[in-house]
Structures are given as C-alpha cells and as structure tokens.
Subunit: 496 residues, 2 copies
Amino acid sequence: MDFPDQPVPLYLQLAERLLDAIDQAAMEEGTRLPSVRTLAAQHAMSVSTALQALRWLETRGHIEARPRSGYFVAKRSKRGKRANGAAGTAGARGAGASRWARPMPELDAQARDHLAIAGAPAAVRLDLASAETALYPVDRFSVLLRRLAYQHRDLVGSHVRGTGYPALRAQIARQAMQYACELDPDELVVTNGCVEALNLALRAVARPGDLIAVESPTYFVLLQMLRALEMPIHPVPATADHGIDVDALKADLDRGVPIKAVVTVANCNNPLGSVPSDARKRALVALLREHDIPLIEDDIFGDLCFGQTRPRPVRAFDEAHGNVLLCGGFSKSLCPGLRLGWIAGGRYTERVKALKYTTSMATAELQQAAVAELLATGGYALHLRRLKAALRNQHKALREAVLRHFPAGTEVTEPAGGLVLWAKLPAFDGQPRSTRTLFERARAEGISFAPGHLFGEGAAFDDCLRLNAGNRWTSELDAAVRRLGELAMRAERSAH
Amino acid sequence: MDFPDQPVPLYLQLAERLLDAIDQAAMEEGTRLPSVRTLAAQHAMSVSTALQALRWLETRGHIEARPRSGYFVAKRSKRGKRANGAAGTAGARGAGASRWARPMPELDAQARDHLAIAGAPAAVRLDLASAETALYPVDRFSVLLRRLAYQHRDLVGSHVRGTGYPALRAQIARQAMQYACELDPDELVVTNGCVEALNLALRAVARPGDLIAVESPTYFVLLQMLRALEMPIHPVPATADHGIDVDALKADLDRGVPIKAVVTVANCNNPLGSVPSDARKRALVALLREHDIPLIEDDIFGDLCFGQTRPRPVRAFDEAHGNVLLCGGFSKSLCPGLRLGWIAGGRYTERVKALKYTTSMATAELQQAAVAELLATGGYALHLRRLKAALRNQHKALREAVLRHFPAGTEVTEPAGGLVLWAKLPAFDGQPRSTRTLFERARAEGISFAPGHLFGEGAAFDDCLRLNAGNRWTSELDAAVRRLGELAMRAERSAH
C-alpha cells in the first residue's frame, strides 16, 4: 500500500530511508544494520518507532532478525520489488487469488503459517490449543439448546441490544467469586470468544503506534492481533516456572521504555504453562499501578489449572482500582463451538462497550442463555474435574512420547495445567534446529503443530514448538509423535 | 490520553497548537476559527489532517461546528480542564464508573447518544432499524435449531476453524446468483453480524489516518466505527432519489482529495431509503476503478427493497476486478437474534480472513447451519414477500402519522424499501429545530428515535430524525408519534 498525500508516519519515513540506504549502497546480504538504539538516536525518534520501522522492513523480507545479534540485510531473492513488496508471490496463495486482475495485499510469513494452522485441519492436530469434542458436555448442551430454542424462540427474532445476556453476566461474576475475584456484572461485556475480548481490551487502552508489552514467548494470535492493530510489540522474558519476569518489566519501565499497556496470560500461560505465585501477581499489579499502565489479563486457561485451588487472576489483586481488564471465555473449558468470551473492563468499561458496538454490535444470545443455564444449574465443577483429569493424563502421555521419540536433549515443559506443551529442540552441529522447516515437512505428512517462530519476533523460538495435549492418547497419536521426532532429527537450521 | 515518548501524530500536534492559541489569546466563546483549508495551508498539512485536528477538538468540547459556517470556540463551561478533557463528567455516566479511583476515558456526545439508543430500550422503539419479532420466521428456526442441536451436537464441542460454515457460504453465493451477483464461496467470510463485516472491510483496505468517503447522511454505527478506527471521514452528499452523488465524488477525486476507500449503502440506503439506478452504480464502479480505490458496499437492506426486482449490488457491476468488498447479513431480513453477517472480500479476501482471525477468530456454527438449512430448503422468498408487504404498510402508516402530527412543513422520505423513514423538521422562527433536544425530551417520556446529528459530522442533520418502521402499526404507536410531533413543535434550536 502507499499513502498518497497522507502524512507519512515517522516509522515509515525511517523505513524508507533505510531501504534507500540499503539499495543505494547495494549492501550485501548479511550486512548488519545499526542497533535499534543507535537508529533511534541518529534519527531523533523513540526506540519503539525505530523498532516499528525495522519490523516493517522485516515483515516485507528486506531485512531479517537474528536472535541476540540484531537485524541484517536479507537475501536479494527474498526482497522482491520495491513498490509492491512480495505482491508478485500473491498468486501462489489464497483461494481465488487468480480471479482478480491485481494481486492482493501481502501477508508476512508468520501470518501465513498462522493461517495455515487456523485453516483446514491436518490429520493429526497437535497445533491449536483445543481438546477433542468428546471431552465437552455436548449432550448436556444439546438438551439445553433444544429447550431454549423451544421456550425462547424469540431469541432468534429479537434485535440484540446491550452488552450480554444478563443471566450469563451474573453467572460469570458468580463463578469469579468462587476464587475471590470480584467482578461487577455491569462491567462485563460478552464477546465472540476471548479473542474479541482481547481485541477490544487493546483498543480500549491503546492506539495504533502505542507500544504493548507481552510475555515472550506468547500466544501467536495475540502477536498477529497487535500487528493488525499496528501496535508495536515489546517482549518481556517469561519462564515456565514463574511466567512474566516482573523485574525485567520493572527495569524496562525504570529506563523509560514507553509501554502503554501490558498483556499477560498469567494462569496456565500459553505456551509455557506457568502460574506465577500470588506474590508475583501482587508485584505486577503494584508495579503497573505505580506507572499507571493498564494490564490486560487473558484468563481463559484459569479454570484448567491442575492444582488443588483454582489460582486467582491478577485482577483479583487489583482491588478497587479498575486497572486490570480481565478477559475470559468458555472455548477452552466448556464449549469451543459456541464462541463465547467475556471482558471485565474495569475503569475502561465504557470504552469497551462503545468499541464492542462498532466491532460486532452484540453477541447472539441463544448460546449465552445455554451457558448461563449450565453454569446456574451446577455441573460445571464436575465437568471441570473430569476434563482436567483427562488433560493431565494426556499431558503426561504426550510429554513422555516427546521425550522418547524426539532428539536427545529436547526439553519439554511440565505445565501447571491447560492444553499445551512447549518443547525446545537441542542444537544440531552447534546450530539451533528450525521448527519452521519441520512444520512444512510434517504438514506434508498430515501432522500439524505450532512452530515456535509464531510465538515471538523474528527468529526467536525458531527451535521451539508447541504441542496440543487436547487429544485422547492413542497409538496413532504415538506414531505421529514418533514420526515428528524422526523429522526433527534432521530439522537442521534453515536459512529462512 | 497522553502519549509519553511516542511520536505525536500530526493532527494532534495541530490540535495542541490550536488549543494553545485559544487559551493564550483567551478567545471569546463564539470566535470563529480559520477554515480547514486555511489551516491546512498554514501548517503545511493535508486538509484531512487539519479536519482531524478540528474534529478532535470538537469531540472534546473545545470548539463547535456550525452548519455551513465553520468551527467556533465553545463555551468555557463546556471546555473543561485541559489535560483530562471531559473526564470530570465521567462519573455521571456509565455503570460502575464510581467504583474506580480514576475516571474512565471520555466518549463524545454523539457516542453517548448512540449508546443510549443501543442500550436499554425505551417503551416506544422508533430508534434502531429493526422489525418486530413477529415478522421473522422464529417458529421455523425453533424447529431447525432443535433438530441441529440434536443431530449436530458436536457443533457445541468442536473448535471452530476456518471462515464460515461451508453450506452457509454456498447458500449465500447461490442467493446472490438470483440477482446476477457472482460471489465465490471461497471469498466469503461469515461474520458476527454485518457490523463486523464492515469493520473487517475497512481494516482490510485502510489504515488509521486514511480518509474514508461516506454518504452524507449515513448510518451512525459506520461513523462511530470510523472514529474508533481513527479513520477520518470525508462526507459525500447523498439524496433520497439517487443515493451517493457520484459527480460530487468525482469532483473530490479530481481535485485530489486523498480518499482511501468509499463506503456505500447503495440499496435501500440507511437512512435515506434510496436505490441508485444501474447506470449510477456502473458509473461509481468505473470511477473508483479508474482511481484504484476500493469500494465497501453494505447491502444488508438489499433483500428488503419493495420493487419488482431485487436491485443488484454495486458489486455486480464490478466484473472480475475484485475491487468491491460486499458486506451483507441476516439481521434485518431473516433472524436478528442470530447475529450473522458475511463479507465477500474480492481481492482483499486474504487480508479479510487474517483480520477475522485476530478480531474474533471464527463465528459459531450452530446458527450458521440453521440459516444454511432455511436458505437451502426454500421458504426465504415467501418470508421476504410477507415481510416486505408488512413493512410497506407500516412505512405508509408511519409516514402518514408523521405528516399528520408533526409541524407543518416537515418533510418525510418515501423510501424504496428497508426499515426506516428519514424526516426533516421545518425551521422555527427562521432557526433550524434541533432533534437533539427533542431526543432528550422524548426519551424522558419513553419514546426513542434516532436524532439526526448521529448521521453526520458536527451539527449537520440536527434538524432531521430517523424513525424505525419495523413495528406493527397500533393506536399506541400513533399516540407516540402524535406526542413526538407535539414535542417537535417546541423543539427550538438548542445552543448545543
């Protein structure tokens, strides 16, 4: 896209200047670019703007990131034409692309791998975080939906007003009370899945160009979402033991990194499976309150933590401040197919409501009524116990299979709950293996997983992969993991 | 909000400078500001950026627009404190606002009237464009949903992948064939209502800061959406006879207005009820193709046009170019409560799909399956005939009541179909009447309608109102319209 007569954003001005420099100096592939900080200082702009410029060039294939080394000029073959970017390759992808006279705007490689996962499923689905249908109370919902479709048939014919079915909002608040998290039904907005909740939360607290801190690694839909919203990403290290590194975040804030909001998946982190201690959650709340920075918390896996007590969301430690926008949903724990999520907007509630109205207006109420009834009449606790028991066994079987079949030295998390495992492949001949090549080879054989590069920026986590433990353990699954392990043995570092 | 260490957008820099000037010169209320063009020239920026700055100041109450006169410094009492804008009034609105230690970010007056309409319904609902439940095939859906919830119970427990239930996408394409509009099921994405379709379309073709041309007056959700997306608005005149003025749009393009995309509600325009001729539709397509500007078409009222033949969407005239993103849905014609819409993305399909994934991931499939079955097994044509016959009668009764009860000289459209009437009040003592005051008085008495200022920028259309003809005509409704007419008699021009 170009921007005729419009004020060109600063980061694009810098990107253009860098591109000119690369072209005019005919820089060789592999030439190292100045550091982000140097660029920011040279061009009198913020670090985040300079980063945005580098990211813009990276996603268009002009430069590439190497972990802990910086940015380098990419291979000429990858760089394509100047004005249209990768447009020339558009014909090769996407349904119906050839129907139109002009190519479609481009997507970056990460977005394409991401959509490959999200699209037509492979035979063996180790990619998305989802449990199989048999683990959900589908018969119960069948009865509920049939009764509601009979008794409340007006739910089909009525214009949907407002921010969610009142009975469901009341039940969400009641559930949260069980783990001492006070939510006001009036601050709750029911959404089309937790993804919509996150999207609304981000847009309620930040604008395009605002820097958003996220855990690294983090949920790939969140990264894609931030890119789509043009909000630059500030990664904060996270570990499988403690989740987000609050000290690192504090150091960033102390040295003035202009973070506008922080997003965390605190409970049963995706992909690491971590649950921070209450003390760490308190510290995070206090730190962000001190800097007056809102926290967006994705608690969709909270109900799937294996421990004795359901961990409290970070939001529970932010008493009476309204600084945490808590997002949740039922797609992991109760009914993936109904696409129901919710957000408690705290002091951003009014903005969230206004944004919901112009993003999708309202959420269909029939399924909201069904979930409200199921929560009200009990049985959710029993269902959760069964689901968690199944997941715990599946986690164990999958983990053991990975350790058995994958290259010696592969590390696998022991998550505190949730649906996924995170694995790191050992180096091969001193070089990190790339799960991106592994991904392509495995998909050609009908096996899909989530390659690590989706969870970070540039080549970070390219030697990692996320595996879905939501499937019942079978000999077929064991065979698929064995095959994946064989392919991983020869997954040498790709040039990417 | 403030923007620590972030590059400040050009329009905000100008807004700040103007605010400084107003404060330092202690400008009197009512002082006229330089014209948009003068400001743009003085500050070496585009007209749209200057307009954005003025709009920013207007929504914060620092200045106010007067029709055909320009912008003026607002009353000091309305301007509030500098940094926090209207934050001081936040406590008075929004549920739970007082719970939080700090006020929530502000909404502008238009957004608040808009949310008042969208929120708790009034006793007499003449506000939103929606027909009453009895006019929709709710019994039919009740049977369908019960059968589907029994036969396809896995729809509850399955993770939803992809861009829409295949059978529904096929049916949407088949329906469109009936009016010679070729859609490829693979370019279709099923959305959470037509509002989500519009939101995805805008984000697929434009970025924050890009100027979007819309009909004036237009659908207020679209205006709110553009503001939320930070896409400045370029109004193009539209008439109840012919819809958008293609010549005016051409003149704008010829003189270089940097329009990035155009949005049209061509068939049964909301609020005007117009249907342009095929020749005008062809001219619009040709003009935009010439300038390589995408058209976003909202055809949600297309099936509700009263004429003999269902008018073709503009998209039908854009053969093999993929330049029109066609948005539709079933919330007006078939099942408001199911919140189903769709978009045919043309050559922007891949971007639309990627955005859908990070905006709400997917749309629940149970209701998609129900609509697909209803469309496949016929009966939609018969339902439409009945619905349109009812709407035609209701339109007639409502129009006659308005002409009977409203001040002499009130003008009312005779729409070609759809759900709404658009009325213009005559001047009072040479001054235009304000439907904004009328709105407040009527709501206090339980009567709600859509005030004209929602459909444009600033004070444009403040003397107009939109009335929903979706309700069965009753003596209560007649009494409500009579009361509204009485209130309108004394709706003198407000200072606003």
